[in-house]
């Protein structure tokens, strides 16, 4: 698509809690990621140019980031689960349904450890599920997903999901490769 000069990864963080937004922003910036933080699913969609309610170009038939002056490159989206109006899960679904962003890794955060919720999110495409409060150790887990995304950009045909090594994660998080235990 577009050539980006920045070597920094850009993460879009979505959380309705101001405190948690500040926290996640700081955690991500400490890891040298560029961060855009928004307070709702609809604002996230708007930022990505996916908000169907406010079409900027009435004649456009596809949703793509070209509404903006610059192409938005987002390397990862991390979202809270429990938000008013649109949950993180709803946002996940919308992102996975979009042409422009379906390959962008999505991570879900939640303060509640609900196994069925976790499984659902992972099954529907979330790469990781973090229990809040999110810590530096969790943010360190994002690197492989970001690197994989970048290598896909440069070598779109070499990536094969089945070849990925299993990522072992402790209790606090779940990746798609884990079989969720009944807790």
């Amino acid at each position: 698509m577009g050539v980006t000069a920045a070597s920094q990864f850009h993460v879009l963080a979505v959380d309705d809690s101001l405190i948690d937004r500040k926290l996640i922003e700081r955690l991500l910036k400490t890891s040298s990621y560029q961060v855009t933080a928004v307070d709702s699913g609809s604002k996230a969609l708007e930022f990505l140019g996916l908000n169907e309610q406010q079409p900027r170009n009435a004649n456009a038939t596809s949703v793509s980031p070209i509404y903006h002056n610059q192409e938005i490159e987002v390397n990862l989206i991390i979202t809270d689960y429990f938000m008013p109006e649109m949950t993180g899960y709803d946002l996940l679904r919308k992102i996975k349904e979009s042409n422009s962003y379906k390959d962008v890794p999505v991570v879900i955060m939640s303060s509640e450890n609900v196994p069925s919720r976790i499984s659902q999110c992972l099954e529907d495409g979330a790469e990781e599920f973090f229990l809040k409060p999110v810590q530096l150790a969790d943010v360190n887990k994002l690197k492989p997903h970001l690197l994989r995304g970048r290598s896909k950009e440069h070598h779109p045909n070499s990536e094969n999901r089945k070849d990925r090594e299993e990522i072992l994660s402790p209790e606090r998080t779940r990746t798609r490769y884990d079989v969720p235990e009944v807790i």
């Binding site: 948690d20 429990f82 008013p84 303060s111 809040k132 409060p133 810590q135 209790e171």
Partner: protein
């Protein structure tokens, strides 16, 4: 080394350590401290201040919610959920735990239980607020005297359960 500064630093360390021992703060607070550095020297104070204003508003909302003729428990639960989340995010362990108990009463639609819990949450909130304000003052004194704030020494070794 300045004896006065040493004494202040020791007092700060003892005060901080006591907060952890008493379960007023948990390891999440240490995480906040670790995110503070020269480029973000006020990070902890900023986040904690947000927590104070946020919580005061939520506690008022909860009082109002529970005073209604027909209590909207969904609303009450949503407010407690927020408070539980933010207290957990800054490491205010006792406030968080009080919120968890509150939610149980909320699920049972037990208004007297909720009201009692709300009192408990308010008390714990005022306690952690006053303790943290004192802690920040001690830190300011140390910094003003030319010292630096260490990250907290003694931590409870018990793994925090995920509730």
């Amino acid at each position: 080394m300045d004896v006065g500064l040493m004494q202040m630093q020791r007092r700060l360390a003892e005060y901080t350590s006591a907060l952890f021992k008493e379960g007023i703060l948990d390891s999440q607070y240490v995480q906040l401290q670790e995110l503070q550095d020269e480029s973000n020297p006020d990070f902890v104070v900023e986040v904690v201040s947000l927590f104070f204003t946020d919580s005061e508003k939520l506690l008022n909302d909860l009082s109002r919610d529970l005073a209604q003729q027909n209590v909207d428990f969904k609303r009450v639960d949503a407010h407690v959920h927020q408070l539980k989340g933010s207290s957990s995010s800054i490491g205010a362990e006792r406030v968080k735990n009080a919120c968890i108990v509150f939610r149980n009463f909320c699920q049972e639609k037990n208004i007297p239980g909720c009201l009692r819990c709300l009192q408990q949450i308010k008390q714990e909130f005022l306690l952690v607020k006053s303790k943290l304000e004192t802690l920040f003052k001690l830190e300011q004194q140390v910094v003003a005297a030319g010292g630096s704030i260490p990250t907290s020494g003694s931590l409870p070794t018990v793994q925090q359960p995920i509730l």
